[in-house]
Point group: C2
Chain length 144, copies 2
DNA sequence: TATGCTGTTATTATTAAAATTACAATAGGA
DNA sequence: TCCTATTGTAATTTTAATAATAACAGCATA
């Protein structure tokens, strides 16, 4: 596979919705900004809707954030998009005849969980508003 | 792609070397435990050697840890294997005509860096010895 | 010297991600 | 009501990173 940019694309979509509250926001229009196709955008939006981060209705090109930007954390988005998929993956395909391999992987799980928790804790400290603030700072700098 | 299990396999190799200090440890033998092929094992070992986590010599099937197990952290292994590859990836392929996309991704970078630092900080707290301890605990439990 | 192994590179296969396609169903306007 | 634009969803295809495989020069040891 190629490495996933789904979280990045989902954040992009959320920001784009926030930044364009009035305009006609079709998946086609969003897809142009992300430079992808409308189907992919709708798939991500479907996940975001199920996680109640946005609301949208069939046939109506007016998606909206379902919460304030301060209330949406990167962890919310990560979970919405990736579900339980972790950042690091065990090799669960080691030789079962060799107890060493299996037990090392099982031992590793415990530590991977810690790393996941640390990463998600940091994600939880970052809100969509933070990303938007960073975005606005950049826009300002660009103009100078 | 499939998702990477390289870090897990590298830890497996390190533990396997630690646990079998006397035996003839060919890449073939290690590969059997990981249930993979010797070439892949040698590639990972090549990265570990370059990072000075193990020592090994051409033609001689006696790889050794180059440091104490307490001195090798998960972060060391991660860096040895993955280099600068981060856990989360920006979408660097957004529409350049749309400043929104580009700037959102650039803003995200700053926050992804934070998450990476948090994850690596936790990795740094975990040593090969910790994993080995977890492994030994499991072995004990299995026997009961 | 002969054998077995390493270190390295090149090539192929596998598979998750992303792209693409298709279509029933809904919203809103003419 | 009919028409157009769009959504929501699923199915299929393409792309590309990972892992598997193959090949071989060069070193270690018997």
């Amino acid at each position: 596979m190629r490495f996933s940019t789904r979280l990045s694309d989902a954040v992009h979509i959320l920001c784009f919705i926030y930044l364009n509250p009035d305009e006609n926001l079709s998946s086609e229009r969003i897809a142009e900004s992300v430079r992808t196709n409308p189907g992919y955008v709708r798939q991500l939006m479907s996940s975001l809707r199920k996680a109640e981060l946005i609301s949208s209705t069939k046939g109506h090109a007016k998606p909206m954030l379902a919460k304030d930007a301060e209330e949406i954390t990167l962890r919310d988005v990560y979970r919405a998009i990736e579900g339980d998929k972790p950042l690091l993956h065990l090799d669960t395909h080691t030789n079962p005849e060799c107890g060493v391999g299996v037990n090392i992987q099982l031992a590793l799980q415990e530590y991977y969980d810690r790393i996941q928790i640390a990463a998600e804790a940091e994600m939880e400290r970052i809100t969509l508003q933070d990303v938007l603030d960073g975005y606005h700072e950049r826009i300002k700098k660009d103009k100078r």
